[in-house]
Amino acid sequence: MPGITREEVAHLARLARLELKGEELDHFAGQLDDIIGAVARVSEVADQDVPPTSHPLPLTNVMRADEVRPSLTPAQALSGAPAQEQQRFKVPQILGED
């Protein structure tokens, strides 16, 4: 089953918003193929009837009361912004949904 192609890596990079260069694609494709080949061992247990563990602790129902806590000031919120305008985060044009 394991094995990953250059095309798959390119697709994954797009999903992950990484503008990989051509030589990087080749380099990573080879390395990832090795890694996936090795870690694919886990599927040995795929058919075993054991519950998956998503959380290392058996905690449930950790909730907070619906009480307002102080927010950051807008200046603090925007303090790391690469660009801002009108007290808002200024970002390049957004494609897609209208």
């Binding site: 129902n61 927010s71 949904e97 209208d98």
Partner: protein
């Protein structure tokens, strides 16, 4: 806008059977956001209600708002759902600048509520059962403003500005099972479902569910299949249809559009569509291809939610009377038709009328003002009835003034106009505008005498038995008194003075 081919609605239904799925997002009315303590108050300064958590700053972690969970359970119970004994949050991964973490904290295969139904009543009184697939908890996104393009549209914009005050506000997403068997009434069912759901949410007190403010948003998924077949067709997903009327129009439009495509031998593309209020049309959005992969996985920063059974039962006991049953009761009490009750519901007037009656107005008066003058004003100004700057108590006061004879209908309308214009409460408006009915018999008598003298020919007709002609004289008196006379009393006086029996 591209011109879309449509077939007539009747022709569409003659060949095809619509299947609908409705996804409604409700913004909860909690004081704080779903995963942080930032206030949810609307219309505040940009980015003034943000913190490391809802800005998705590195290192910040979410903590669940217990009222968010409680509200979700209440909604689930009111929709006759099962409540999960154990469920988790999941991350829905996709990049979008309005989503600070670039994943939405949501629920995936373990929703908190599932397998329910909502009975909705159609205009002719028929009850239609809409099956509920699930209701789950998630969070809202921030708001973007697009700058440099036409009318704030995304296309052609040079850049966008982001305000994250809304990011993280709790949402409950309610998803129906495929709605089958509604046939030609599918659009009506869609509208009735959303209206009923809105009433339910409001009755539960978990949200004000104002659609015009985005507190309740509906996506309409629709597909057609040839009549008599079972397999669903390919669906379109019309996003953000944000009024009851639009829900109905969007469903109708899509039925006509799908039918046109299918009957001309085309295929429906699975895509999102945008609804346009101006003409009720939809246009193509994003194509849902395989590139979309949300890579859901259990949110590791939050622990599972396992609502205790006694808590769930306690919440069940506290549920209010279901809106449909309450409306049936009110319909009886008020003595109105099914159709009128539906109109009242659609106008969002049920609670306002009830409150007005509780404030002392007779039910017919309360209905008359909210569904007449006030509904008109709300419509003209693009507001919800409950957003008008007039309270049920003030409407009740106007009704009381009419009942006392201090106002006639015409004056009452002016009083309401004054209240809406911010001139004060009804009594203040009456005072300031000098709107009292002229009840000074002497002045009225003089005005009647003058009217008779000035309209001798009409007066003669009346004397001659044409009582109906009195209307013209009443009109003259009303004009002379700038509408402030009691028309009934004026008529009495005219007939009296002309020696005719009324």
């Amino acid at each position: 806008m591209t011109v879309t081919d449509l077939v007539s609605y009747e022709d569409a239904l003659a060949s095809y059977d619509p299947v609908m799925g409705l996804e409604v997002h409700v913004e909860l009315g909690t004081k704080t956001k779903m995963f942080c303590g930032c206030s949810t108050e609307l219309k505040q300064d940009a980015n003034s209600q943000t913190c490391p958590v809802c800005l998705g700053l590195p290192g910040a972690l979410p903590v669940v708002n217990e009222i968010g969970v409680e509200s979700a359970i209440k909604i689930g119970l009111a929709l006759h759902c099962e409540i999960a004994e154990w469920c988790r949050f999941a991350r829905k991964n996709y990049f979008y600048p309005d989503m600070p973490k670039n994943f939405q904290t949501s629920q995936y295969d373990e929703p908190i509520a599932f397998n329910g139904y909502l009975d909705v009543q159609l205009e002719d009184g028929e009850i239609f059962r809409v099956e509920i697939e699930r209701a789950h908890m998630e969070e809202d996104t921030g708001k973007s403003t697009h700058v440099g393009g036409a009318a704030g549209r995304i296309h052609g914009a040079s850049h966008s500005l982001l305000d994250y005050n809304r990011a993280g506000i709790p949402l409950i997403e309610i998803v129906t099972k495929p709605i089958e068997g509604a046939g030609a009434r599918a659009p009506e069912v869609a509208k009735a479902y959303v209206a009923e759901l809105r009433e339910l949410i409001k009755a539960l007190g978990v949200s004000e569910a104002r659609m015009e403010m985005g507190q309740m948003r509906c996506d309409v998924n629709l597909s057609l299949r040839p009549n008599g077949t079972e397999t669903f067709g390919t669906r379109s997903e019309t996003k953000n249809v944000n009024s009851l009327r639009s829900v109905e129009r969007a469903a109708r439009f899509e039925i006509q559009r799908h039918a046109a495509v299918l009957s001309s031998g085309g295929t429906i593309v699975q895509e999102t569509r945008h609804f346009h209020e101006e003409d009720g049309s939809t246009t193509a959005g994003r194509i849902k291809d395989n590139a979309e992969d949300y890579r859901y996985f259990p949110e590791p920063d939050l622990v599972p939610v396992a609502p205790a059974r006694d808590w769930v039962e306690e919440l069940r006991k506290g549920l209010p009377e279901l809106p449909r049953l309450r409306r049936a009761r009110l319909k009886e009490e008020w003595g109105v038709s099914e159709h009128d009750m539906q109109s009242i519901l659609n106008a969002g007037a049920v609670d306002l009328i009830v409150a007005t009656i509780e404030a002392g107005a007779p039910s017919d008066q309360a209905r008359k003002w909210w569904m007449g003058e006030l509904a008109r004003n709300a419509n003209e100004t693009g507001r919800g009835l409950d957003e008008l700057p007039i309270t049920p108590a003030q409407v009740a006061r106007v009704a009381a003034l009419v009942a006392k004879g201090d106002l006639n209908d015409k004056l009452a309308r002016q009083v309401i106009e004054g209240v809406l214009a911010g001139e004060g409460d009804p009594d203040t408006v009456v005072e300031k505008r000098g709107l009292k009915v002229v009840s000074d018999e002497g002045a009225l008598s003089t005005a009647v005498d003058e009217a008779i003298a000035g309209n001798a020919a009409i007066a003669d007709k009346i004397r001659g038995g044409k009582v109906a002609a009195a209307g013209a004289l009443v009109g003259a008196v009303m004009k002379a008194t700038r509408g402030q006379a009691d028309a009934a009393r004026v008529r009495e006086l005219i007939l009296e003075k002309l020696g005719v029996e009324g």
